[in-house]
């Protein structure tokens, strides 16, 4: 369809709509953006309930794009799902910036499943350009959101009075409205190539070798993200990511599960590693699981640990973000602000050793993974020096202030329908001393001497876990002083928290950049193939002087009888 024909069709559609909303501003040439804008303004100006506060601000968001996901197991396609994605959300807020209706729930009555507590009204939007359907979705969502806001505001005001003066900051901070509209075409998703990729890559894993599971999943999404606010912000930005996730596991004869996984994340399918590289790494993943299955158990280890390659970046990925994300918890009826924030991040706290820094910079480049110009709240993403010389000096912020930091840094991130909190985007952890490999190895040798042991643990890859915890290593080896390496079967970190980072004794080997998908909810375990794209750059090798790991024991009963492949091998057929 040519653009002219498309516009004519759109004009015909518009003519067929008897609007419930009054157009109040010039159109920007994109039906989704224009309708979102109209309804944010309409909601602000026209939604009224006698005796209740009128809307104070309105934010509407939507994503409009395409997706493709497929999974194959041991070379065979299990499922695939191409999709057209159009979802959105609306939040109508009443009150004033000082105390508004946003972010409030009574955890005593439970949150999940409690629709009244959800900050945004979700919308599943029409997947074709029909303005009537879209307009009706917005009509319903703004109406419901406003009524919830009135209820929530009354309850929140009463609760705030009950708790008393506790130094809580305002609920919202000012920011200039922006108009930034990028309506570039969506990136094509090469579905046939991706289907072939998961089939070929998963065929590098073979159940005949003894693996129980061997799966490769691909998920590619590409969309425009729209944000409109009642104070005039109009944003349309391209976003998206491509992820390939490989997983292999087996249950050993003693019931211990051995699993490994690896994830590649890029801005789009073209940015993924070459197929041959992925296939080779998946093959290595399978070999690693089999090698670990044959390794001897070690009950307990305490001593130096080297994190290499992905694992070095993952150490920071799990332990640093909770210390730099400044959005305070949502107010609760029976807790003061100070009580709620006493366990969160603190300015001035030592997080890393001397000479270390952490910087986040969305980069202003929406074309790169994790990068963007403006955040979910319409604030330009700033470069923020979060840690200097080991101490936390700044925090990532949204427009929700905290007592010690009132302004947004442009880091409001999250799904279109979920909560937006201050999250990292493209961040770098650096040390003033990034040693050469040879110097780093000397430091490792000294650590071995100090620990009076002949081997140390080298972690190269980990599974996934919640932020603030370290996941189980999925690829680790014992490295002896003479350079020999032996596989480690299963060990779990014990007694790890942010203070572990202070124990980093050396960094070296240059830098490694890791793209990953963080969980939509910052407290969750990340998903294997969906999430918020981020990029961390960190030293490629790290030495932590003293860590504890324990053998977790069997996860389940062992198999009752051998797999068909194993049985055939035993019988020689």
């Amino acid at each position: 369809m040519t653009r002219r024909v498309a516009l004519a069709a759109l004009a015909a559609l518009l003519a067929s709509v008897v609007p419930g909303a009054d157009p109040v501003e010039p159109r920007h040439g994109d039906p989704s953006l224009d309708l979102l804008g109209e309804w944010t303004t309409t909601a602000l100006e026209r939604l009224r309930i006698d005796g209740s506060p009128p809307p104070h601000r309105v934010v509407a968001s939507a994503v409009d794009g395409v997706s493709y996901t497929a999974r194959a197991s041991f070379g065979d396609l299990v499922w695939e799902a191409p999709g057209r994605q159009r979802r959105g959300s609306v939040e109508v807020v009443v009150g004033a910036d000082e105390l508004d209706s946003s972010r409030y729930y009574d955890r005593r009555v439970g949150r999940w499943g409690n629709q009244e507590a959800e900050p945004r009204q979700e919308m599943m939007l029409a997947i074709e350009d029909g303005e009537l359907a879209f307009a009706r979705d917005l009509w319903r969502a703004t109406d419901v959101s406003y009524k919830k806001a009135v209820q929530r505001w009354r309850t929140k005001v009463a609760a705030r009075r009950a708790v008393g003066g506790d130094g809580a900051p305002a609920d919202w901070s000012a920011a200039e409205p922006v108009v930034a509209i990028d309506l570039g075409p969506l990136r094509a998703i090469p579905e046939a190539e991706l289907r072939r990729l998961v089939e070929v890559a998963s065929s590098a894993l073979d159940s005949a070798d003894g693996l129980d599971r061997g799966e490769v999943t691909v998920n590619v999404v590409d969309y425009r993200y729209y944000t409109t606010t009642s104070d005039g912000t109009r944003l349309a930005q391209p976003e998206g990511y491509a992820v390939v996730h490989a997983f292999a596991s087996l249950v050993r004869d003693d019931g211990v599960e051995i699993a490994d996984e690896v994830q590649w994340v890029a801005r789009d399918a073209a940015g993924l590693p070459p197929s041959a590289t992925i296939v080779e790494e998946v093959r290595a993943l399978g070999r690693n699981v089999l090698a670990r299955a044959a390794a001897a158990d070690v009950d307990y280890y305490e001593g130096p640990v080297v994190f290499e390659d992905r694992a070095a970046a993952e150490l920071f990925r799990y332990l640093v973000p909770p210390e730099i994300m400044g959005t305070p918890p949502a107010p609760e009826p029976d807790r003061s602000y100070r009580s709620q924030t006493r366990q969160g991040p603190r300015l001035g706290r030592r997080l890393l050793p001397d000479g270390w820094s952490v910087v986040d910079d969305p980069g202003g480049a929406p074309g790169v993974l994790g990068g963007y110009l403006y955040d979910r709240e319409g604030v330009r993403g700033e470069r923020v020096e979060l840690v200097s010389d080991g101490f936390v000096r700044d925090l990532l912020m949204t427009r929700v202030p905290r007592a010690e930091k009132r302004k947004s840094t442009g880091h409001a991130r999250g799904s279109v329908t979920g909560e937006w909190t201050a999250r990292p985007s493209r961040w770098r952890v650096g040390s003033s001393k990034n040693l050469t490999d040879r110097t780093f190895d000397r430091e490792v040798a000294r650590a071995l001497d100090r620990a009076r042991t002949d081997r140390l643990l080298v972690v190269r890859r980990m599974l996934r876990s919640r932020p603030g915890q370290l996941p189980q290593p999925s690829w680790a080896v014992w490295r002896y002083a003479d350079g020999r390496e032996e596989p480690v079967d299963v060990l779990e970190f014990d007694n790890v928290d942010r203070r572990t980072l202070r124990g980093i004794a050396a960094a070296g080997g240059g830098e490694l950049t890791l793209g990953y998908l963080a969980p939509w909810d910052p407290d969750d375990v990340p998903d294997s193939d969906t999430g918020l794209p981020m990029v961390v750059t960190a030293p490629r090798r790290l030495l932590v002087e003293d860590m504890e790991l324990v053998f977790p024991g069997p996860d389940e009963q062992p198999h009752a009888y051998p797999s068909p492949a194993a049985a055939a091998a035993r019988s020689g057929s």
Binding site: S16, V17, V18, P19, G20, A21, T42, R46, L47, R48, I49, Y68, A72, S73, F74, G75, D76, L77, V78, W79, E80, A81, P82, G83, R84, M124, L125, A126, I127, E128, D129, G130, L132, A133, F134, A135, R136, D137, W139, R140, D143, Y146, K147, E191, A192, R195, S203, S207, A208, D212, R213, E556, Q557, H559, A560, Y561, S563, P564, A565, A567
Partner: protein, 593 residues
Amino acid sequence: MPAVRRSRPIHALAIAGALVLLPCSTSGEGAPDAPGARTLAAGIDGPEAAGNAPDDPATRALAAEIDRAMAALGASEAPPYHVGAELTETRAVRIVGESGGLHDWSPSVRRWLDVDVRIGSRELDSSHALRSGNERPQRGGTPVPLTDDPAALRHVAWLEIDERYRAARERWAKVKAEHEVLVEEEPSQDLAPVEPARYSEPPPELRFDARAMERLVQRASRVLAEEPVVLDGAVSFSGSAQTTWFVSSEGSRIRHGGSHYRIDIDAQTIADDGDLLQLYASFDAHEADRLPPVETVVARARELVSLLAQLRAAPLEEPYSGPAILSDRAAGVFFHEIFGHRVEGHRLKLVDNAQTFRNRVGERILPEFLSVVDDPTLARAAGTDLNGFYRFDNQGVPAGRVVLVEDGVLEGFLESRSPGGTGTTSNGHGRRQQGEDPVSRQGNLIVEASHTVPDAELRRMLIERARAEGRDYALRIEEIQGGFTFTGRTIPNAFNVNAVLAWRVWVDGRPDELVRGVDLIGTPLEAFSKIVAAGELHSVFNGACGAESGWVPVSGVAPSLLLASIETQRKQRHQTTPPLLPPPLARPAEARE
């Protein structure tokens, strides 16, 4: 890796031309029948291959793994005595329209494997219901690759059989412990013997006109956006073609399938008092070309809008106790909920179940003029394709016609392979949703009356009864949607079903008046005793029923019924205020094009 014929890329569906035809991903033997060629009459009589075991990669792989499991575990401390495996391939499409726009267009092809492993004996095995409580229900099953590669299929089958075996072994210990210390109130077999079935039919196709269905949901859903009375509305088309392979250690080898197409219309409004009112309509067919034309769907959507407007303005009905007619689909739904669930045999084995009809076989439980059968072999009734049609249940047993009540006398129960009624074996009603364990469930529940009166006469009888009782009006219930019925022993054995279309029938001849806020309540035996007459016209409801083994498709066929008395109570009401702003509306002229 051996070469296999894979499914056509399912993304092609999304951009397909006028006709979508999605082939089965498994080659099987022979070419599939042309659409519509399969016989959909009563009885399992259509396919030419009936009586022959399928010989295809899926059957061979499942059979090989079952044989291997029986051999490998046979000498163990807890050997399985039965393994059954059911592989289901579902090709489905869902197209949803709202306000004239497409909201969803989702094609999918999935395979799923369910496995049943049993330890013990037919009389008492690891599946036996545990009575000491707090057993966490566990869903089983696993996705299966879309391939004919025997190694791939056997590996997945091994993983699932192994997992289910280990679960059965743990459960068997608990069953034995309970058996030793607790009284067995209702001893009966846990797995009744059946004749192993051999049957094969070609995999069905998913065949429909995609463009036509898009236009249909667009046009019909636009109608729902013409009038301000409609708060939310959607029209959806769904189509599925399902092939099922069943293999058991007893020797069953089955491949059967079926397709189903459905159009749903769903519209909501909100009354000034906050009452959220919802009406549905649906059309079901075994072949897409048996669905109604777009004009019929559009007309039905307009009817719903009109009814919603009337319903929104209708008065709230006060609690009522008096004569009533259950007309149209209400009678079928009423029997399904109140009667049907009480003749599902597995309930008679549950010690905490009230077992309404236990020991009542041979006794009159309904008026003499009523008989009830459940017949899943019936593909069509009263000109309507039946949702509850199937050839084999989920335990590999041929679907059977079961006479439940004859001339008012209870004759039997619906049985799975764990019979709880008078029967000693299954009558082909062991059903489940994928991932659940089968229990006895309804299929096509059919209420027949040996003596009927014209529906106009039934109405006259209703008015006469009301007049005789000194009432101004009686009730006619036209549509029932949902509800619940307690069957446990610790609370009253009552039902509460939601009437969405209820009318006052005035004795003074005024036109019938729609009312809202009506729930029918009562207890089953009392309610059945109040049925005094049946009409001539039979209506069909098609739907899905959710119970212990998940959601299964069901149908009900029944004549209008006159009850001497039924009790109603106020329905739970939403309290949301109507929208503050007028809705964006479609121009009616456009929708009528």
